[in-house]
């Protein structure tokens, strides 16, 4: 049956059709929807794990038990899961195990632009790279076949434009595939004596897969009428090349980016006058071609930064495109902002007002860095706020400093940093901004919310008890809508020379169960145009004709702005 599917939905469909029984993932744009879609199939057990390392190890366990398994993550998530990755590469699998990693060239929603293909090479694992939804579905099923045939985990590499583009797929029925479990210490216990014996097996396996890659249909040569140029490409870059050139020039379309098909590349290169490798981010395939002694073009004419497009490919080859006309030169940017009613706003206002250094983390609250709040000093990776703060404080800095980390991020990677603060006794203040959901990726449940991926009741981690259990004696909870209470907590805890945790707790204003108050209104006679209310950076407030005005389609009636008004100009509505 023909359906229009998002790349991530097609991957989930591939998991279903391949008989996958176990899915464990941590959300991360652009990979999140894979796991949300696969959770809709009753035949597949699917869960959110606290982080990617846990997810990958759980998927390994399911594979060991004989069930086809999967874990999905964004590119930076694979860094977190790299530890099990490199050793599961040694053990291989029992039932098939597939790992999806979704890169985010152009950093639509990421903190770096790393190219995950390097992981396949470094961990000596096969990696498939689809270029649309139909290929995503087919490659996912193929990945399970290869996983079991070659006894290896297989990585399916997505990118934003494949993961978040819908295109047409043909669906098929599910086929069950289960293996027996039998104890095999030499294969699965990776202590040195066993691992030394496994390493040569890994090398041989990679050679065997390279032989497969030579004849695999997914690495195909498309003939052209003009052999002056031949393109080696894959993923969305393939689509841009075809969009611009159609069937004019020959193309070697790579569906498997590791290991690469040496002979096929050489044969292809011999049939064209000049080879151009078109690949986003690093010159991964280009460098491989160079090691084969082939003279190819690639990063000399195409950037290793950001995304490509058909227009970019066309202009690189001197093909004219229509440039379009601008209607207006000075168009203000529209960056993402914290939503009206966002519970993080009151806390960030307090930090900014008191000029407190705030080491930030990964989530919606990273938007606290945006003016006018500009309340953050650093953002590195999941959990780095907590561990970074410890170093900042222990270094002897006199500057008042805090860490700001969300509930889901704290469960992902913040706990170990907090253990370090307690164990090595730094006078650090960690603020957990607990909005009762994983916000930025689109409202996923996590171990603090009391619900699982399917929305069913689940164990709920008590953050206060957890923080106390790791050795933090000072743990307090504040409502970030209450600015006075927020300020008191922050000033007291940062003054005291011992470890502390402030839990800034209020659910995300976008959650369906959260009731909003009626929108506030401004009494223009009382408004003195002082713009104090503008300091919280709420998208619902703006100055019109010199007076503060409230957009009643956005305002949630949180009342944070009203607390800043010295002239009592805000009128509160009632319960809505």
């Amino acid at each position: 049956m023909k359906k229009l599917m998002l790349g991530n939905e097609a991957l989930a469909r591939g998991l279903y059709e391949a008989g996958c029984r176990f899915v464990s993932s941590y959300p991360g744009t652009p990979s999140t929807e894979i796991t949300e879609f696969v959770a809709l199939y009753d035949e597949v057990y699917a869960e959110w794990a606290p982080n990617e390392k846990v997810a990958m190890e759980a998927a390994f366990g399911a594979s060991l038990a004989g069930k086809r398994s999967f874990c999905g993550m964004k590119h930076v998530g694979l860094n977190v899961a790299a530890d099990p990755l490199f050793t599961i590469a040694y053990t291989g699998v029992n039932a098939g195990m597939v790992i999806a990693v979704a890169d985010d060239a152009a950093m639509h929603s990421s903190q770096n632009e790393q190219d995950s293909r390097h992981y396949a090479k470094a961990a000596k694992l096969p990696m498939l790279e689809p270029s649309d939804s139909a290929e995503t579905l087919a490659f996912t099923k193929l990945a399970y076949e290869l996983s079991e045939r070659f006894d290896t985990p297989v990585i399916v590499k997505m990118c934003t434009r494949v993961a978040h583009s819908q295109s047409v797929v043909e669906t098929a029925d599910r086929v069950e595939c289960v293996k027996e479990y039998s104890k095999d210490p030499a294969k699965y216990i990776m202590m040195p004596g066993n691992a030394k014996l496994r390493h040569p097996i890994v090398e041989q396996r990679l050679s065997d897969i390279a032989v497969y890659a030579e004849t695999a249909d997914i690495n195909r040569i498309e003939q052209g009428s003009d052999n002056s140029i031949g393109f080696i490409t894959g993923s969305t870059s393939y689509q841009y090349v075809k969009e611009v050139f159609g069937d004019k020039h020959p193309v070697l379309k790579l569906g498997m980016v590791w290991p690469l098909p040496t002979e096929k590349i050489k044969t292809f290169a011999a049939t064209v006058d000049k080879v151009v490798v078109v690949e986003e981010l690093d010159g991964f395939v280009e460098e491989y071609c160079n090691t084969l002694g082939l003279e190819v073009s690639g990063k000399d004419i195409l950037s290793n930064i950001g995304e490509f497009s058909q227009g970019l490919v066309a202009s690189t080859f001197g093909i004219a495109t229509h440039s379009g006309k601008k209607a207006e030169e000075n168009i203000p940017a529209r960056p993402p902002v914290m939503c009206a009613g966002c519970p993080h706003r009151g806390l960030f206002y307090t930090l900014a007002k008191n000029k407190i250094t705030a080491l930030g983390d990964i989530g919606c609250y990273t938007l606290g860095a945006v003016p006018p709040l500009a309340a953050l000093d650093s953002t590195i990776c999941m959990g780095a706020s907590v561990s970074g703060l410890h170093g900042f404080v222990k270094s002897g800095s006199e500057q008042r400093a805090v860490a700001v980390i969300g509930d889901s991020t704290f469960m992902h990677s913040g706990i170990t940093g907090l253990v370090n603060i307690a164990y090595n006794d730094s006078a650090s203040t960690v603020i957990i901004v607990d909005n009762s959901i994983t916000g930025m990726t689109g409202h996923q449940q996590n171990p603090t919310t009391g619900k699982n991926l399917k929305g069913d009741p689940a164990a709920k981690i008590d953050l206060e008890t957890l923080c106390k259990a790791v050795g933090i004696k000072r743990v307090r909870v504040v409502d970030p809508y209450d600015l006075a209470a927020c300020e008191q907590a922050v000033l007291e805890e940062t003054a005291i020379k011992e470890p502390s945790v402030i839990i800034s707790r209020r659910p995300c204003a976008l959650l369906k169960y959260v009731k909003h108050n009626a929108p506030l209104t401004v009494n223009p006679d009382k408004c003195k145009s002082c713009k104090m209310c503008m300091k919280v950076g709420c998208p619902a407030i703006s100055m019109k004709a010199g007076k503060a005005t409230i957009d009643n389609t956005l305002c949630t009636g949180c009342g944070v702005c009203a607390q800043l008004c010295k002239f009592d100009a805000f009128d509160k509505g009632g319960e809505n």
Partner: protein, 189 residues
Amino acid sequence: MKTRNIMIVGVGGQGSLLASKLLGRLLLTKGYDIKVSEVHGMSQRGGSVVTYVRFGDKVYSPIIDKGEADYILSFELLEAARWTEYLAPGGKVITNTQTINPMPVIIGAAQYPENLVQKIGETVEVIAMDALTLAEQAGSSKAVNIVLLGQLSRHFDFTEEEWMTAIEQSVPSKFLELNKKAFTLGRNY
């Protein structure tokens, strides 16, 4: 058939994902090859968002580049102006006249440009309409997306019935009548 390109632009949270889903469903029933490219994650938090819808005999690229769009369907006026240069020769902008101030304007670091409907009209062909008022007439300010789809529908050969079927498949049943009304108001504008 040459690939046709529609861009849906607006502010994160205005419902562009539903509009593109609905359009995709309709095009699928007509047997086209289709690609619809969306934006998720951080950009959805009140930022500028764009969705690309492409259909034809064979569609390669999932995105639309400068000078390629046959239609730009804009949910907010400034966003229409932001993307005008993506319009192909002979293309049309269909825009809501509603304005939503971006943060740089709110904090006084930038000005919301004046006379934008006129400026866009001097550059390209534009249909500007107060879709917010029509959506409110239909029963919800959130139906701006469907009002504008109604106007877009006038430029395609698909029947009103085909559009209505796509709406039925895309919105929850309790909002169906509201959305059908919004579509009709937009189509008859």
